[in-house]
């Protein structure tokens, strides 16, 4: 909305305000939409896909806000939260929950697990100030690898999850069997002119966006942001920045764990083993595309970023397939955009500790 007011002071200021990468990517998205309209692709399907995928990735992206605001940088260790969520789902299925009960139980357990994991992770991040991003990445990788061992060794025996032969859990667990596939998506969902609106999914995403938005207006939230902007000043004003960073990382881990539950129910499958390994990067990229930097992020960045990024990914594939038959460029495009935007954000980080 604000850009309309800004227009008087010139296009340049507007672009600076929104952020150059966001503008470029938004233009690219509009271009893709125009092309897909020209080559007569079903726009309604594309947009429904975008809404669905935006919603299902939403919480994972939202998890970036607390950690960025606290000065820890984007949460590259998102797999920690994800593994907590996955473990909660697997426990829920093992204990025989189905449907909504499964989702609620899983959510509650995930919050407990993620709080503990987030606390430890927060302590770690406080010990390695200055190189959080690199260490967070490898922490996430290591946790994913450890959990691969865990999935193979857990003594769970539910028929929904077991291999037919041998020990361990399956690579993908269907949520159909426990009546939880798309259960949030389908809540109050409706269709308008071929456009399918996953109301429940969007409502849950909106609810958590609101919670985070409110949280950063409470005393604790403001203290966290202050510590992120200038840790020394915050410390001098009597704020316990270390404690605040831990709180922010706990929140981020919790959002990650709930995010994967939302993601899995929308997808219809729970993917374990190596699936979480690389999940942090698209989430980081999405919030950066929305206009965040490695040190500042808002809830609005999340909403813009996740729909824009997922929108590009959903439209690029059919467009590329139509234009250059037989090539699959969407994965290539994802890699270039995702990692390009992260690199751009890294070049904007001021070096050193000051």
């Amino acid at each position: 909305m604000s850009e309309i007011v800004e227009k008087r002071s010139g296009i340049k200021d507007t672009i600076n305000k929104i952020g150059l990468p966001t503008v470029i990517i938004a233009c690219f998205f509009i271009f893709l939409l125009v092309v897909s309209a020209v080559i007569k692709l079903p726009l309604a399907t594309l947009l429904s896909d975008m809404l669905k995928r935006g919603g299902m990735n939403g919480l994972l992206v939202l998890a970036m806000v607390p950690s960025i605001q606290s000065g820890t940088g984007p949460n590259f260790a998102l797999p920690i939260g994800i593994e907590c969520g996955l473990f909660a789902i697997v426990c829920g299925i093992q204990f025989g929950f189905t449907g909504m009960a499964l989702i609620l139980f899983t959510g509650a357990l995930a919050i407990v697990l993620a709080t503990i994991a987030g606390y430890i992770y927060g302590r770690l991040m406080n010990a390695v100030k200055g190189s959080e991003m690199a260490i967070a990445t490898y922490t996430g990788f290591s946790i994913s690898a450890v959990m691969c061992l865990a999935w193979l060794m857990v003594p769970f025996n539910s028929d929904q999850m077991r291999w037919m032969l041998g020990d361990g859990l399956r690579e993908t667990i269907q949520l159909d069997g426990v009546g939880a596939a798309g259960i949030i998506n389908n809540f109050l969902s409706f269709e308008v002119a071929g456009l399918k609106i996953p109301t429940g999914l969007l409502l849950v995403f909106a609810l958590f966006c609101f919670i985070v938005w409110v949280f950063f207006r409470t005393k604790t939230g403001i203290a966290i942001s202050a510590g992120g902007i200038n840790p020394k000043f915050a410390l001098a004003s009597g704020l316990n920045t270390d404690r605040n960073r831990i709180i922010a990382n706990i929140l981020s881990t919790i959002l990650g764990s709930l995010g994967i539950i939302l993601y899995s129910q929308s997808y219809g499958y729970v993917q374990i083993y190596n699936a979480p390994l690389m999940m942090a990067f698209p989430a980081v990229a999405a919030v950066l595309i929305g206009g965040a930097t490695a040190s500042r992020a808002k809830v609005s960045h999340v909403i813009i970023g996740v729909f824009l990024f997922q929108g590009i990914l959903t439209t690029a594939m059919p467009v590329a397939n139509e234009l250059f038959a037989g090539t699959d460029l969407s994965e290539t495009l994802r890699m270039i955009i995702q990692n390009g935007i992260i690199l751009y954000a890294l070049t904007q980080v001021k070096g050193g500790n000051d």
Partner: protein, 427 residues
């Protein structure tokens, strides 16, 4: 094992020595444990695997040393060098060239490509100062996207290629999932191969003679190098003597140890040349610049060193070496998996170097070689241990992936944590 350092033992308590080499020792213990529990691993199989992996990965690991010394940290961006090597191979194989000449051509083509890539990567590292480690990881992913774009789309859609070419996908756009290396395969190995035990005999024998001569002052020790005291020289001599005896025994009785894969002299010579190059360049003015920049960029800048340029040169050298390392790796593998061969190279090499006892600011040839041996030993042993202890080889495979990430994570974490603690006490 002879090369395990004995310099540090003098004047340093055993405790600090153990703490400083903890990761290396854990890997050593893990390998030995593997020998104890796993039955399927015979000495000749193990030695074959470990040596061939050492020849294969050696240069890739060595290519990481210079960026570490220049203060860039661990350059995960060697993936980009690997891509340059693969592009060179694709070009050479496209025109169906092979043999030693073809291999030389891949070296020649990949060098300028890698230099250009390294130049741009270096500029990026200068812009992401302080975050090079994560930037180098991400730039590898990013370059992978561009690489895929080149091989999946540009080849065929923009660069015209004949449709029926065996390397090109059936529809005429993009390169197939795997490229056959043709006669490039083993081209370096085929020059000359020496039975492993003869190699051990010669190396151990020469070392033994040199050490004995040094001990009895027949040849003077190099100036400046302190005369070794204590029992370590004797232990080393003993080890060499044992190796000589073992190899003579194996040769005479033609035991299983003679089944170990022969030593490809060509590859070994190149690895030694790269070692020599790394040693020598650190003695030049440029090498001194690397060190000063690595120690403190501000002081280096003040004393008239062009810090940005020095860092870019370090990145270029690393990238070029990595591209050659990848070519040697692939000529040993025999096929090039076009879209996946390079993806894990960076992490493998970095983990190897760290296992060898390197840190983010200190690395040497010894670290690279010891690390490459031990890391690969863990890699070979892991499934065998998983099978023996838990009855599941898959467990061992996940375990070794964990070790790879874990080693990198722990090494990074401890380094930064120590530095933060130090800067706190000095403040």
């Amino acid at each position: 094992m002879v090369k395990l350092d004995n310099k540090n033992t003098e004047k340093m308590s055993l405790y600090t020595w153990v703490m400083n080499n903890l990761v290396t020792l854990i890997f050593l213990a893990f390998t030995l444990f593997g020998f104890l529990v796993a039955e399927g691993v015979s000495a000749d199989y193990f030695l074959t695997e470990i040596t061939s992996r050492l020849y294969r990965n050696g240069i890739l690991v060595l290519s990481l040393i210079i960026p570490v010394l220049a203060g860039l940290g661990l350059n995960f961006g060697i993936v980009i060098g690997a891509m340059a090597g693969q592009i060179a191979i694709a070009i050479v194989r496209f025109f169906d060239m092979g043999g030693l000449g073809g291999l030389a051509l891949t070296f020649i083509i990949s060098a300028p490509l890698a230099a250009i890539f390294g130049y741009f990567t270096g500029i990026l590292y200068n812009k992401t100062r302080g975050q090079e480690m994560i930037a180098s990881l991400i730039v590898g992913f990013f370059a992978n996207g561009l690489y895929q774009f080149l091989f999946l789309f540009v080849v065929g859609a923009i660069i015209p290629v004949p449709k029926g070419h065996p390397m090109i996908m059936p529809n005429g756009i993009g390169i197939r999932m795997s490229i056959d290396m043709g006669t490039l395969k083993y081209s370096l190995e085929n020059i000359l191969e020496v039975p492993f035990m003869w190699g051990v005999l010669v190396v151990a024998g020469v070392m033994l003679v040199v050490m004995l001569l040094k001990r009895f002052n027949v040849i003077k020790a190099k100036k400046g190098s302190k005369r070794q005291v204590g029992i370590m020289p004797w232990v080393n001599m003993g080890l060499c003597a044992v190796l000589v005896v073992i190899s003579i025994h194996a040769i005479v009785t033609n035991s299983n140890l003679m089944l170990v894969k022969k030593i490809p002299i060509g590859t070994v010579v190149i690895i030694l040349l790269v070692c020599l190059f790394t040693e020598l360049i650190m003695k030049t003015k440029l090498g001194q610049d690397f060190r000063s920049v690595g120690q403190n960029q501000h002081i280096a800048e003040v004393s008239g060193i062009n810090v940005d340029r020095t860092r870019i040169i370090a990145t270029i050298i690393s990238t070029v070496l990595a591209s050659w390392g990848m070519i040697i790796y692939l000529q040993n593998m025999g096929t090039l998996s076009t879209y996946s061969a390079h993806t894990n190279i960076g992490m493998f090499a970095v983990a190897s170097l760290l296992v060898g006892g390197a840190s983010l600011s200190k690395a040497g040839i010894k670290n690279a070689i010891v690390g490459a041996v031990l890391f690969n030993a863990m890699f070979i042993m892991s499934p065998a241990i998983g099978q023996a202890v838990f009855g599941q080889a898959l467990l061992g495979e996940y375990f070794r992936t964990f070790m790879m990430y874990g080693v990198i994570g722990v090494a990074l974490g401890i380094y930064v944590w120590k530095n933060n603690k130090q800067s706190k006490t000095t403040l």
